[in-house]
């Protein structure tokens, strides 16, 4: 069974979104996604300053098995990326919700958060 923290929001394509105190959003992939991918070996992140539209393919995570596109769950400007992943992408496997975060966005439309899935809804979608 995969871990689905209740304080986060999720997308159909298995990204998670954490709403930070300063109004920005941190984004990563869910425990379920990292389990499906297997050992992560390479991550390609957007650049700080990139403007992302909701649903844009903006990063790639690659495991031994496969490459997988990451889509921006909400639109906004990239204000930080997780540079530690360069040296150790496997952190995504061990800490998908903590050390394995991918990038942080300054939101351009806070209302987009309302369209994301709650932990409960995401958990139910995995059981289908």
């Amino acid at each position: 069974m995969s871990n689905i923290p209740s304080h986060l929001q999720y997308t159909e394509s298995h990204e998670w979104v954490s709403s930070e105190d300063d109004g920005s959003a941190r984004i990563g992939i869910s425990d379920h996604a990292q389990q499906e991918l297997g050992d992560l070996v390479y991550v390609e992140l957007p650049a700080v300053g990139d403007e992302l539209g909701q649903g844009d393919p903006c990063a790639v995570v690659e495991s031994v098995k496969a490459a997988s596109d990451i889509y921006a769950p909400v639109s906004g400007k990239v204000i930080a990326i997780n540079e530690d992943l360069d040296a150790d992408p496997a952190v995504i496997n061990t800490e998908p919700y903590d050390g394995g975060w991918l990038f942080q966005l300054e939101l351009s439309d806070k209302d987009e958060l309302d369209g994301l899935k709650s932990a409960e809804v995401y958990a139910a979608s995995l059981e289908d």
């Binding site: 389990q35 297997g38 050992d39 070996v41 390479y42 390609e44 790639v60 690659e62 031994v64 098995k65 496969a66 490459a67 496997n93």
Partner: protein, 362 residues
């Protein structure tokens, strides 16, 4: 309904992630594919390969038949127990499958062919066999466990009765023998020493459990793929198929063209050789960061090529691949990854064997 091997329950108990492989539900990994890979390079791991097809050839013309059926020359098998790797070709020189043949006695040879090609292989073999005094018998009642790694043989020998262990310990690479219920071959698909063991299905779980208890790590198809790629071994259906010949698949060494022997596909190969082979299968090491995958476009000074297998290599800690490229290309090329051209060096596989990176690859 997917097919299950006799070890299916054992995989579930060990926490395997199961995937469909040619109609079989097989373990892809038991947690970390990379850890499994390292375990085989450094100690011992085991793979359930019961989905593979064991075919026995019996009868007075067994050798004659195989000399005609296979591109490599079964006449090379002089001592009982010897094994030979070969391609089985169609009349156009295309590869129907690759396989291992074991010579047991003049009226008994055993072949192990791929699972995904089972139906067409059996149809081809039986149709070709009609002209010979041989009997072709599938052995679906046999399970198969590959135990691989520097300590693999030791782990297996410890499970055998003393007399069998003593004899099996003396067995040289690419040899096989029957030890009680176990058909043990010193062969593999990882670039490490080890055994491939065929045994009655109902005995498979017990041996698997004994090996687990002896510290042999269960390994899935994921690790099997990165191990064979590092070891420079082709995967049928990916690195070769019926549209390419062994000469375009880095398998020229497995084709015996020098002598008088007639075999299926020989004329086509001779013609291809005379008119010049246009492509070759090479190894690539990505010099930039990223991961090589099958189907990526390769750019050389002599035209384009394509990767056939590719992955992250746990031993090299770099991306590696096989690619089919124009014959004249050497040293370096570029790969198109998501629209970016990245540098690769062209090398001669294997990339890694016997626990270490091979010389000249990095």
């Amino acid at each position: 309904m997917p097919q299950h091997t006799p070890l299916f329950d054992a995989h579930i108990t060990s926490g395997a992630r199961m995937v469909d492989f040619g109609g079989w539900e097989m373990p892809i990994n038991y947690g970390s594919q990379i850890e499994e890979h390292h375990k085989v390079r450094q100690a011992a791991g085991m793979f359930d390969v019961s989905h593979m097809t064991v075919v026995d050839i019996n009868g007075s013309q067994s050798r004659l038949f195989l000399c005609y059926l296979l591109a490599n020359d079964v006449a090379k098998l002089k001592t009982p127990g010897r094994a030979l790797y070969s391609c089985m070709l169609n009349e156009q020189g295309g590869i129907i499958d690759d396989l291992i043949t074991y010579f047991l006695d003049e009226s008994f040879f055993r072949m192990v062919v791929n699972a995904a090609t089972h139906d067409k292989d059996m149809a081809w073999i039986t149709s070709q066999a009609r002209a010979f005094d041989v009997e072709v018998t599938e052995r679906p009642e046999l399970a198969m466990i590959a135990v691989q790694g520097p300590t693999a043989r030791q782990a297996v020998l410890a499970q055998l009765p003393e007399a069998d262990a003593a004899t099996a310990a003396e067995m040289k690479p690419f040899n096989a023998g029957q030890y009680g219920d176990l058909f043990i071959a010193r062969t593999g698909y990882t670039g490490e020493d080890g055994f491939e063991i065929s045994l009655p299905a109902d005995a498979a779980s017990a041996l698997w459990q004994q090996l687990l208890d002896a510290g042999v790590a269960p390994c899935g198809l994921g690790a099997r793929d990165t191990l064979r790629l590092e070891a420079g071994m082709n995967l049928y259906g990916q690195d070769m198929d019926e549209n390419v010949s062994p000469l375009e698949s880095a398998l020229g060494w497995t084709v015996a063209l020098q002598d008088e022997r007639a075999f299926v596909g020989k004329d086509a190969l001779l013609e291809q050789k005379a008119s010049g082979v246009k492509h070759k299968l090479v190894g690539l090491v990505l010099q930039d960061r990223g991961v090589l995958r099958p189907g990526q476009t390769i750019v050389t000074d002599f035209g384009e090529g394509i990767t056939t297998s590719g992955s992250f290599s746990p031993t090299l800690q770099k991306a590696i691949a096989f690619a089919r490229i124009p014959k004249a290309a050497t040293d370096t090329c570029q790969v198109d990854i998501r629209g970016k051209l990245l540098d690769c060096s062209i090398v001669r596989p294997p990339f890694a064997r016997n626990g270490a990176v091979c010389e000249g690859v990095l």
